[in-house]
Symmetry: C2
Subunit: 150 residues, 2 copies
């Protein structure tokens, strides 16, 4: 296994691919218990898919690859705090641990606006760690929007 | 346009198809402003996709069909109160109106546990109506789980 920071570097590379395609730069890496990796980036505009956030893309890819709708013992690394949609998908997939980079005060649903991954009323809770390479993750998104406003 | 009850009948038929395939019976219908319809049902197990709730399936189908990640002016009918994942997808797709059948006290995220579709901190709010053919929608799910326990 790599370190959290190393996985986040891969997620950052994915986010960079998104930015090159004009998509908001968010990248994700999913790591199976045995170490197998999947990575993906935000792609709603190009994929014509409102649900195509990086987390959803990588969860769907891993589910398809292992032929199961549950991803038990899996870790997910993502450059930005997940929204309500992605937090829900993380719960449905039974992901064990989520590590994110930058906080998202406007839509974040795991710490900022809501704390969905620790809601005991739901049938799965997820270990959570935020702030890994937060400065790099945050700078990448800020740079994207600054560029776009030009 | 059909009535809310008529659209919910179509959603119920979709849910029945899910039940026949061993999936929790939830069905959804999405109606474009011009009246074009898409329908889908819950299919995570068969599709090997943790995200394949009825709402996500029908949003993805409609986005692909019209070639856009936003579904402006669209109505969504679903037999069960949406979860956090589906509520988030509804917001991302900018769906104008959501009509659901049965309440879901354990995971419902538009009235029961959370009220995501009216959260003013998020960048889109959705008109919401619950309880349409609630008894039929509720009975269908109860019957599925009763059958499965046998």
């Amino acid at each position: 296994m790599l370190s959290d920071e190393q996985y986040m570097e891969i997620a950052l590379q994915q986010a960079e691919l998104a930015a090159e395609q004009g998509e908001v730069p968010v990248g994700a890496v999913l790591v199976l218990a045995g170490g197998q990796q999947f990575s993906a980036h935000n792609a709603p505009i190009l994929n014509h898919d409102a649900t195509a956030h990086a987390e959803i893309q990588v969860i769907r890819a891993a589910c398809a690859a292992i032929g199961n709708y549950r991803l038990v013992g899996v870790q997910l690394f993502v450059t930005l705090e997940p929204c309500t949609m992605c937090a829900g998908a993380i719960i449905h997939a039974r992901i064990a641990r989520v590590v994110y980079g930058a906080s998202e005060p406007k839509t974040g649903a795991v710490e900022s606006l809501y704390q969905l991954l620790s809601d005991k009323r739901l049938n799965h809770q997820t270990e959570l760690k935020g702030g890994v390479l937060a400065d790099e993750c945050s700078a990448q998104i800020k740079s994207f929007f600054k560029q776009r406003r030009k």
